[in-house]
């Protein structure tokens, strides 16, 4: 597999694509993946088809995307894939994720368990996380180590969230696309990095993304508000240093992370759904902890798949906040360890296996480095 990751920060989408085409030179490609800034939202499919004369592509919005070591803003980053052996890629998409699509999507994954799947999803008003977890319950094979992905990231313009996924002549604003790679080996790393602190709490009252009560009816919001003690003008993002770790009931390991998005007197709200009855721990990290974990996970991942040909990084936008001015360091660790091009973006949520590879999980504040190599 030959890959190239290119970027352009031209002021129009057309000019950006023309520049990317020029940089691509005469290299053949089988498939293109574009991470495009939400500043571009007009005639995306038409422009890609006009410049590259293909339908073998997907594009999605990303506020910050990765071109090798660089974090690009207000630009277009493109991953061009050229298979040199028997590699293939196909697309499966759901235009508007609904309950009736859960079975269809899980059947697709169950019937294609020999392939490696990259999911590019829309936030879909927060429905994506429960959709993924419902799919996970229907997956009938183990280990679940052949799926990874992320939720595209957009921004609000005049009260409208600009966040779309594009392919062929479709614009998916409530759906997802699965790219299924055939004859490609892949390995997914799960880099958390937050250290768990203290005892385990049981969620005794939760609804959607909110925790109301823990243990025997204690107000969780009261406890979380204590994190702001002696901090002037508290910003909710300060709590991104302290996500919670959801514990797997059966095997007692960390199965997912949840980042706080809001606190009221009654409840603590997270960026993804919360299941009543689950247990969790508080956690904390600085950029040093996260980068150390990235390095450890990168080394473990390459041991399982040496000499990869490309790396993708799905890294949470809240993790970017904790990484502070070191947000490019994560990509540097991956490109150095994997010695490949790197493509990716800061996501609104990451999709990947849990650390034990028992199920598919929707994460917050995680980095999922994915390395691939054609058979």
């Amino acid at each position: 597999m030959y890959t190239k990751v290119l970027s352009s920060d031209k002021e129009t989408f057309l000019f950006a694509l023309e520049e990317l085409k020029e940089k691509l030179e005469r290299v053949d490609f089988d498939f293109l993946i574009f991470a495009i800034s939400p500043v571009f939202n007009y005639a995306i499919n038409e422009t890609i088809q006009k410049i590259f004369k293909t339908n073998n592509y997907i594009a999605f919005h990303a506020i910050d995307s990765f071109c090798d070591n660089e974090v690009q803003n207000k630009s277009v980053v493109m991953l061009a894939i050229n298979f040199e052996k028997s590699g293939k890629v196909s697309k499966f998409f759901v235009e508007d994720i609904k309950n009736e699509d859960i079975l269809k999507t899980s059947d697709y994954l169950n019937n294609n368990q020999d392939k490696f799947h990259l999911i590019f999803a829309n936030y879909s008003n927060g429905r994506i996380n429960s959709f993924i977890e419902k799919i996970s319950k229907n997956i009938n094979y183990s280990p679940v180590d052949n799926i990874a992905g992320g939720v595209a990231s957009g921004m609000e313009v005049e009260n409208e969230l600009i966040l779309n996924i594009f392919t062929e002549n479709k614009i998916l604003n409530k759906g997802l696309i699965i790219l299924s790679f055939e004859n490609v080996d892949a390995e997914v790393g799960v880099s958390l990095g937050f250290k768990p602190y203290g005892i385990t709490y049981k969620i005794t009252k939760a609804q959607n993304n909110r925790i109301y009560l823990v243990d025997d009816g204690k107000n969780f919001a009261y406890m979380v508000k204590k994190l702001f003690t002696n901090i002037e003008n508290p910003d909710i993002r300060y709590l991104w240093y302290t996500p919670i770790y959801i514990i797997d009931e059966e095997d007692n390991y960390i199965s997912a992370t949840r980042t706080i998005s809001n606190i009221t007197d009654e409840y603590v709200e997270f960026f993804a759904n919360i299941e009543q009855g689950k247990h969790f721990k508080m956690s904390f990290a600085t950029y040093i902890d996260l980068l150390q974990e990235d390095e450890k996970i990168a080394k473990q991942t390459i041991e399982k798949l040496p000499f990869p040909e490309v790396c993708l990084n799905f890294s949470c936008i809240a993790r970017q906040y904790v990484l502070e001015d070191k947000s490019t360091e994560e990509n540097k660790i991956y490109t150095k360890t994997f010695n490949t091009h790197l493509f990716g973006f800061f996501t609104f949520g990451e999709i990947g296996p849990d650390v034990q590879r028992n199920k598919l999980v929707f994460y917050n504040e995680t980095s999922l480095p994915v390395i691939m190599k054609e058979r």
Binding site: N230, F284, T286
Partner: protein, 250 residues
């Protein structure tokens, strides 16, 4: 800046996770205290409510009996407050009430119990007052303070008040009795003219009791349908015919 925040967050996290039960205990205590405060206080002014004043009144009198103290019970009613609400609206009316509450807090000692009974009525149990003269002097100062002009928007509003006072042990030994007598004194103060303060005396009580008795009798007669309506004709002598009727109830 970010470094300091991170350190604070970590410190707070460590405090929470290592003292989980202390935090929850203090949370429960805070909750109990908050509920208690809600139960005993007037939410608008932050003064105590009537129920609390009555309860404290009983305890304070027990204490006063043991220590041979004098305790004053002061009732205050604002005279033209309804007009303020009607003209300027309830929001401005609430501001006036808050202002009066503040004035009461300034005028009395910290150990005096000040309450709002609801509407424009206030009550104070004042162990700081030890003689009838002191009580009247304090009341007069209060009348002067309350009647000072208040600015609402671009208008100046004058509010006056009436004050009734009863004293333990001069006017009675039981809290209920003293409450009733302070109310009687307040009624009398309003009757003789606005912006007046009255100390309770027995003569006042008899007058009021008579009025109350008359009122009671009226109520009984109405309930028993003992009133009879009489129409007495008025005769026009020149015309020699009924010109009108005089209506009488006997």
């Amino acid at each position: 800046m970010r470094e300091q925040i991170k350190i604070r967050i970590l410190q707070n996290l460590l405090t929470i996770v290592t003292q989980k039960y202390d935090y929850f205990t203090s949370y429960q205590e805070t909750l109990i205290e908050e509920n208690f405060q809600k139960a005993i206080k007037d939410p608008l002014t932050g003064l105590y409510n009537r129920a609390y004043l009555e309860e404290v009144g009983i305890n304070l009198l027990d204490e006063a009996k043991r220590e041979n103290l004098v305790v004053a019970l002061v009732f205050i009613d604002l005279n033209n407050f309804k007009a303020v609400n009607d003209i300027y609206g309830h929001e401005k009316g609430d501001e006036v009430l808050k202002g009066v509450a503040k004035e009461l807090k300034n005028s009395f000692r910290h150990y005096d119990i000040i309450a709002r009974f609801g509407g424009d009525e206030f009550g104070i149990i004042a162990p700081s007052i030890s003689t009838p003269e002191e009580a009247l002097e304090q009341a007069q100062n209060l009348l002067n303070e309350i009647q000072k002009p208040i600015k609402i928007n671009l208008n100046t509003v004058h509010i006056t008040s009436s004050i009734g006072i009863s004293l333990y042990p001069i006017n009675g030994n039981e809290a209920k009795e003293l409450f009733k007598k302070a109310e009687v004194a307040l009624y009398k103060a309003k009757e003789i003219g606005k912006n007046k303060a009255m100390l309770f005396d027995e003569k006042m009580y008899q007058e009021i009791l008579e009025k109350i008795e008359i009122k009671k009798e009226f109520v009984n007669v109405i309930e028993n349908k003992e009133f009879v309506l009489y129409l007495q004709p008025k005769i026009d002598i020149k015309e020699n015919k009924v010109a009108d009727f005089e209506t009488l109830i006997r």
